[in-house]
Every structure is written in C-alpha cells, then in structure tokens.
C-alpha cells in the first residue's frame, strides 16, 4: 500500500474556478514551433457524475470541469485518466476553433493516470497535427515547456520551468500506485492535466498533479510510464495494467543480517520479508529468499540495480515489464542459488483498495441497513469520522488486511455503510461503519453471501456480528420484508441490491 504524500492533488479543474485567472500565453523565441504545436493540443470538457458510495443506488450531483490533451496519432488524444474518469459527457476543442466535438474514452489506465480519448466526428481532426515524443528522459535542469488550458482559459497557455527532480512518486488518482515521476517548477495548474510537457518541441511527459502545500512543484508522467501504457494497449487492444510482483524486501546492508542469511561477504541482494498473496511472485518466491539478480542484473545490497547508466530500485525491472512478460530472479534459498522465473501478471486483487471509477458500487439493503464492500471510495466518504472506533478499524483493515492475514476466506470486506432510519433499525446507529464478520452464524466472504445468510435467520432473528465489536446487531427477521418495502418507497431506491457475479460464475 502506498501512502499519499500530504497535499498532493490532481489538477483537473472544477467548474467553480472557471475564468478566475488567466495564464498569459507569451510568444517565445520558438514561436514558430509553438504555432505548430497549437494544432496538437486540445482542450477537454467533461461533465462528471460519480457514484455516491454512502447511497450507492444513486449518483452524486453533476459537476463539470476541463483538462488538456494532445494528439499522438491514429486520431488518439492522450490525456490523464483523472480528467475523463466518471464522466457522463466529453467534448474536445482545438485551440482557436469555436467548435466542440463529442468524444469518448477508448482506453484508460487508472494505475498510471493515463487515458486515450477519441473524438466521434472525423471532422475534428482536420488540420490537426500529431505530436512527436522524445527518445529519452529529460535530465535535471533541462528547460521544459508545458502546454494546456489551465484555470479555465479557452486559448492555449504556455509555461516554462526546469526539471527539478526525477524520482519514484505516488499517483494520487488511484491512491495506491507509485511510478516514476518528473518534478518541475513550471507552473502546472488545474486544467493543465493531460497537457503535453515538451523539451525542444518533443514530448517528454504529461502534466498530471501538483503539490498544494508547496510553491511551484508540479509533476509530470514521464516517457517510460507513457510508453508502458501505449505498449499495453497496442499489444492486445486492452489495457491490462502494471504487473504487481507483490514482494516486500529488505536491504542486506547490515553485516549481521548478511551472516544470518548465510550470504558471502561480497554479495549483494535484497531479502524477501513478505509476499502479497495476490502478487505475481506468490507461490514462487518465499520469505527469506535473497534476491541476487533480476533479469541478469546484479542487485546491490541496497536493493538497487544499474539500468541505462542510472542506479534505480530493482523493482524498476518489473515496472518496465508488461503483462505476459516474465522476470527472472537468481536467488539464495536454503544455502543454494536458484533461478526462478516469475511470469508478470496482474492478478485480480480485491484488496488493493485502488480508487474505483466508472464502476457502479455493489450494495445490499436489508432492514434499512446499507451494506457495501469496503472500497477506497467508501473510506473517502467517512474521513471526517476517523475518531469513531469503527472507522478507525476500517482504515486499519484497508491497510493491513493482507499483512495481518485478515483477508483469508474473503474476497471482500463488507461494511454497514449507512442506515436508512426506520422503526426496524431505530437502535442500530451504533453499528454504522462496522465491518461485518458473521450474519446468522455465517462468515461473509463477500457481499454476495449476504442474501443467502439472511435467508437463514436464527430463531426468528437476524444476528449480525462485527469485527472488533463485542455485541451483535439483532433484527426481527419477520419485520424485514415489510420494512424493506416501505424503505424502498420512502427513500426512492430503485433496487434493494446491486450485486455483480463472482469471477467464477
């Protein structure tokens, strides 16, 4: 689980700030090339409607905003995933053209915050020009140019800055992912999201997020991440996402640890301390394995390898891999050296707690109690209640479920997310945000188990127990049917359940 750095925010623009401030377009010395780029950069208008995770049968109020994008060939417009997520309607507009053209999302990668949008009308592309990518990462202090439509402007904006850092960093759109990022002091403001960042007229990245608590720190998705996304969608016409190795390891810099592990004095290596049960390496690597080489590259005792002349974490080898590739480890296990190939895949991890977009949340309502799976989206609705013991428990489970073995026997954690007041549940508010453990003596492995468990009341009662709570919630089973019919009418709920089929159904 990757924690979010304080103050990092995506930079899509809310309608409320439209027109507040203009970023002045300053003709530069390379004005000719900028004029050419005008034909490549587009403004993206979106109407946003998200799911309401506390009332999951309905959507949130409509919102609108805008971002930027640029043409990369094959009529594709590259932008950020966060610009076009949860959208009901998308339009694209070229600089200087009064017309807006409806568009749709062709590919979206929430783990890398990139998306490809395609305009529905071929007329949009008349006179456009695809933009050219650079071959390599920019270097520290290289001067960058950011193009886009920040702060609601209708004309193209240009800002400049230098590369101030290249490092791994969080991608806040998903909440859990971390990849290479380029940091710049060029002004990147809401509305710049998805716009190209150029070095000498060639794209080296996509503007995507900023640090609100600092001055002039903006972040760019660099070429390796863009290339990974584009290759992924080119491979099979689907976006599979980054493979997850699922390994936590420890440096072997400590000589006493090296002796304990039986490592030769001269060797490097990273020792495996935990394996994600949903990671690609699960079942192949073991705790205590010392990873000596990855794809033939020596892993130093600080867990680094040398790639392209740079020292990077060995996990960068996995970052560069695609679904279906494999990564080969030479490792020390039980005194011997073995070679183990790990096929890179992206197993469906129900506990990754990545933010969900464009996905209707599941729910079951019984006795006015709204049960939903634990998701990052749900947690975001209750951050103001962190002082409550039950909410604290949910935050703990969200981060430690796999580490502390709580996931076993489950594919979802089920939460009592809301209570729709009705006489049948008058005394049950205390249990709100509780993590359901059992219903009528049956342990819930997923939300879809709930209706079946409710079909078997205990001596006329529904008895629901919660993790970390000593006392159960008890409902009169005979009253639930009529109560739910009334609740459905009173709260205008179209359906009392929304469940997806299990993967194996």
């Amino acid at each position: 689980m990757i924690s979010l750095p304080h103050g990092v925010r995506p930079i899509s623009l809310a309608a409320a700030v439209l027109g507040l401030a203009l970023t002045v377009f300053t003709p530069a010395a390379d004005a000719v090339s900028v004029d050419r780029l005008r034909a490549s950069v587009v403004k993206i208008y979106v109407t946003v409607q998200r799911y309401d995770y506390s009332q999951p049968w309905q959507a949130t109020p409509l919102g609108s905003g805008n971002g930027s994008g640029f043409l990369i060939g094959k009529r594709r417009i590259l932008t950020n995933a966060h610009v076009v997520s949860d959208t009901a309607f998308i339009e694209v507009q070229r600089d200087g053209d009064p017309r807006r053209f409806p568009a749709h999302v062709a590919f979206i990668g929430h783990d890398c915050d990139l998306a490809i949008v395609v305009a529905d009308d071929p007329a949009f592309y008349e006179g456009t020009r695809e933009i050219v990518f650079n071959d390599t990462l920019p270097r520290l202090n290289d001067e960058l140019m950011c193009l886009g439509f920040p702060m609601g402007g209708v004309r193209l904006s240009l800002t400049r800055g230098v590369v101030s850092r290249i490092d791994n960093g969080s991608y806040v759109h998903s909440g859990v992912d971390s990849h290479l990022v380029v940091q710049t002091d060029a002004a990147i403001n809401p509305g710049n999201s998805g716009g190209p960042v150029l070095l000498d007229g060639r794209v080296v990245g996509v503007a995507f997020q900023g640090l609100s608590s600092s001055q002039n720190i903006g972040y760019i998705i660099p070429l390796p991440v863009i290339a990974h996304f584009l290759r992924d969608v080119e491979n099979d016409g689907l976006y599979n996402g980054y493979p997850e190795l699922g390994v936590v390891s420890l440096d072997t810099r400590n000589p006493a640890l090296r002796r304990l592990l039986g490592l030769p004095a001269a060797s490097g290596g990273a020792v495996v301390t935990w394996l994600d049960p949903f990671g690609a390496a699960h079942g192949l690597l073991q705790r205590g394995d010392v990873l000596l080489r990855v794809n033939g590259r020596e892993i130093a005792r600080d867990s680094s390898i040398v790639m392209d002349g740079n020292t990077v974490e060995y996990t960068e080898q996995i970052e560069r891999g695609q679904w279906g590739d494999q990564v080969v480890f030479d490792l020390s296990r039980s005194g011997g050296v073995q070679r183990i190939a790990v096929p890179l895949r992206n197993p469906k991890d129900p506990f990754s707690l990545r933010m969900r977009y464009d996905e209707a949340p599941e729910y079951v309502i019984a006795g006015g109690l709204v049960f939903t799976p634990l998701t990052r989206n749900l947690l975001s609705t209750m951050s103001g209640d962190i002082s409550k013991r039950a909410v604290h428990n949910l935050f703990y489970v969200s981060q430690y479920a796999k580490l502390d073995g709580m996931y076993e026997g489950r594919t979802q954690f089920v939460v009592l997310a809301n209570r729709l007041p009705h006489p049948v549940n008058t005394y049950d508010e205390y249990f709100r945000y509780g993590l359901v453990d059992t219903v009528n003596g049956r342990r819930l492995g997923a939300l879809r188990d709930l209706p079946e468990a409710l079909a078997h009341p205990t001596n006329g009662f529904h008895v629901i127990t919660f993790d970390g709570m000593e006392n159960p919630l008890v409902l009169d089973a005979a009253l639930i049917g009529d109560a739910d019919a009334q609740i459905k009418r009173r709260y205008e709920i179209p359906a009392l359940t929304r469940l997806r089929k299990a993967d194996n159904e």
Binding site: L257, R287, Y430, F461, E470, V474
Partner: protein, 500 residues
Amino acid sequence: MEIFVNSLSHLHAVRLVPLAALALLLSNTAPLRAANSGERNAVLDVLVTYQTCDERLPWRLNPPQNRAGYGLAVGPGSILTTEDLVRQATLVEVRRPGRASKFTAMVAAADPQLDAALLAVRDPALLPHLEPVELATNLERGAVTRIVQYEDSGAPQEGAGRIVELSVEALPSAPSAVLTFRVLSDLRVLNTGAPIFVGTRLAGLMMRYDAQRQSGFVLPATVLARFLQSAAAPVYRAPPYAGFNWIALVDPVLRRYLGVPETGDGIQIVQTVPTASAAGVLLPNDVVTRWDGFAVDNQGFYLDPDYGRLRLNHAISGRRHVGDTVAVELVRGGQPRTVSIALKSYNEADALIPENTAGAPADYLVEGGFVLRELTGSYLRSGERGLGNANPRLAHIYMTRATQPERPGDRVVILSSVLPDPINIGYQEFRDDVVTAVNGEPVGNLRDVARCVDRDGGIKRLTLYGVGVDLALDPALRSAANARIADTYRIPELRRIANP
C-alpha cells in the same frame, strides 16, 4: 448505542503526608452562612512547572512548561486542587492571590481517576491567615453558586452560577467517568481549579470552562471529600472498579433475543476485564437488572438516594469502597439469578496497553540503537493528531484489546524507532513495529526483553510481527555501539525498567 466503561482508576504517584487534620474538615454539621470574604481567604494561586516525557525518546524530557490554577486550603498547610493542574510537576508553588511571595508545596496525593490532588506546604506558618474551607456535603440541581477567581492585582472576581446538570461524565483529562456537575455562569473562568461555593462551603473545583456556552464543568465537593478520606488513610484507597463494559438495552428486539421482556429494566454486559472484580462473574449478554439494591433501568441509570437519576458508574465507584461486596441481579439465558461481586480497585498494570493518563515517564530499553518500549495510550496519542495519525495496527490493538491481555503481565512491546548507528544499518526505517521475540524467545513485556538481553549478552535477533526476516545485530559490536549510541544521542541510561 454507546459502550460504557466502568470508570478506570489511574492512580499515580501518590505520596502521602500526615493528614489527620483533614477528618475535621469533612464534618457536615457546619451551618450555611451568608457569603462573606472568609472562604476567599482559603483560595491560593497554584503555580506549576511541569515536564512531559518525550514518548518517542523516553529518556528525554520536553522543555519545562508552566501552568497556573487555584487551590483551596482544606487544613493547615493542606491545599486541594485538580490533578491535571499538577500532573508531571517538577515544582509546585502556592501564593496568596496578588502577593509576590511563593511557597513550595509538594504533591501529597494525586488521583487522575478523580482529577483530584492534595498539596502540602511544609511549613503552614508561611501562609498565615489562611482559613480552611469546608466542603459542601450535598449537591442540588438548580442551586445557586458563587465562582471565585482573582485578577493579577489580587482583586477578587466573583460570578454567580447555577448548577444545571448533575451527571456521571468522562473527565476532560482522563478516560474515567465520575460524578460531575455543570454550572452556568457568565464569569469567564480563566484557570482550572477555580472554586465554586454554595454559601460558604466549597461546592466543587472547576475543571473546564466553555466561554462560548458560559458553562463550567465542575468536580463536586462530594467526590473531593471521598478523595480526601482516601488520602488520609495509611495507604491511599483507590475507588472501586468492577471491570465490565455495558450497553443500554432499549431495543425491544435485542431484549427478546436476550430473553428479557421487551420493556423493563436492565443493561447488556458486553465484555469484562480479566483480573477485575466482575471477571468470571458477569458474562457477555448477561442482562443486569439490579446493582447493589438499586434497580438499573434500560439506559443504565439508577435512582441515587442523594443525587437522583445517575448513571450506574456512580453506584459502583462512588457509593462503595474497595473490599465491599455487592449483590447483582441479572438475567442469563432467560433465567434470573443473583451473583456477588467483591469490589477491587483498578490496577493499570493489568492492562495489555495501559493508558498512562498521568504521563509517567515510560520504561524503555535501548539496545544496538533499537528503542524498545511497551505500548501505552499516551504514546499513541502523542502525535500531532493523536490517535488519528497513530500507526493503524497499533491503534487497532489499542481499540480492541487494550484491557484484554492473553496472559497476566502481557504488554505490547514495540520497536518504537531505530537510532541510526553503523550497527543497525539497513534497519533505520523500522518504526512502531510489534516485537514478538528476542533472540528467538517470545517476549510478552519489556522485562522479558531485558531478561533475554541480559542472558544472551545483547540482542542478536529481533523478531517483528509480520516481518518475515529477523533483524540481526552483531554481538561483537554491541558494547562499543551501545556506548557510542548513549553518547551520540545523549541517553543517560540505556534502560529504565521500573520493576525488573
């Protein structure tokens, strides 16, 4: 629904001085007098220098800070005040309001559970003309009170207040719940310990004042009187503690499920604390209908003969003493029965995660730069946002199992942090991890850790919960490293273990 916890005692640092004179002050025979300045002559400024412990580096004390409040003379050289005023005091001084001369006082007794403290001035002659005040023996809703505080010049400020609520509430400075009252007054009270009088008698000491609501939260004289009685005993007698959590039992469905009528008395027991009075006597899902002769209604209130409708906690800890046995009527599995509970005091040392309300310096052990200590509530709350930014796993253990050790004496031993040194290179990012074993031997508390360290000549392997590889240290480097770490990080002693 709300879980109620029988008030926890956190008696700390009780130091007793002879208090025989106090008994005289607890007489209830003194008649009410018209307001005059006599009781004002009992009020003293209490000036406190205190030092909190750095929870992360527990050998270190944070810079001294100051607090000021009021105390009331209750006997020659004996001054009553609130415990949170003198908590972690390094120096306590008293003076007459408006005067310059200060006199050192010592904390004779302090009980965080009751938020009460007794100070003793070594030479009462230093405070001439001090007129000890008498304590009111009853409390009445609606009674008119006077609140007294002093300007810097020594001029008194008085404000009228009315007692608007008598209730058993959690204290503002401790998790325990005791009898308190609320007073409405437009006098903006600035300091803790401000006295509230009914007539000429002390009705209570102000613990908190909410200027927006013009409401003061007061520790009543009746609670203070019990504290003084306990303090006068040869050994301080903490209030009794039954050791069970309960919830109101209003829900008719839940009542039927538990085998009691849909309407009627009774609360539901949800958990008992091992080693506490109720352990093994009360069971989860018992419905307690009568405690010590008092009917307990379905919201957990009883009719107190002195104060009217109060929460059950007061019947447990406010009306009885340690050693008393009370009869408890309950329904278990639909069958009524009566059980007896012999009341004991709460021993914080029995908890898996003690609260350490009093802020006592934590025990610790530094070995090879590993800072090891036992988890406490005060440690978890020491961050900027309290529990909000505590390690979620540690906070989870605290919230679900703080009073529930599997074995007596068990604590949660943690690797709080690692002091960077060549001996622990590669481990310096570890922080707030639960320690399960040292040198391969399971440890249940810091004393176990110390025993392993002493037996084996240091930490060779430290096992952390959820980390698949032990952290190894080189024993050959231990001695030099410990000396270097003590010197570099200015650690006077590499361990502090109160009861090794």
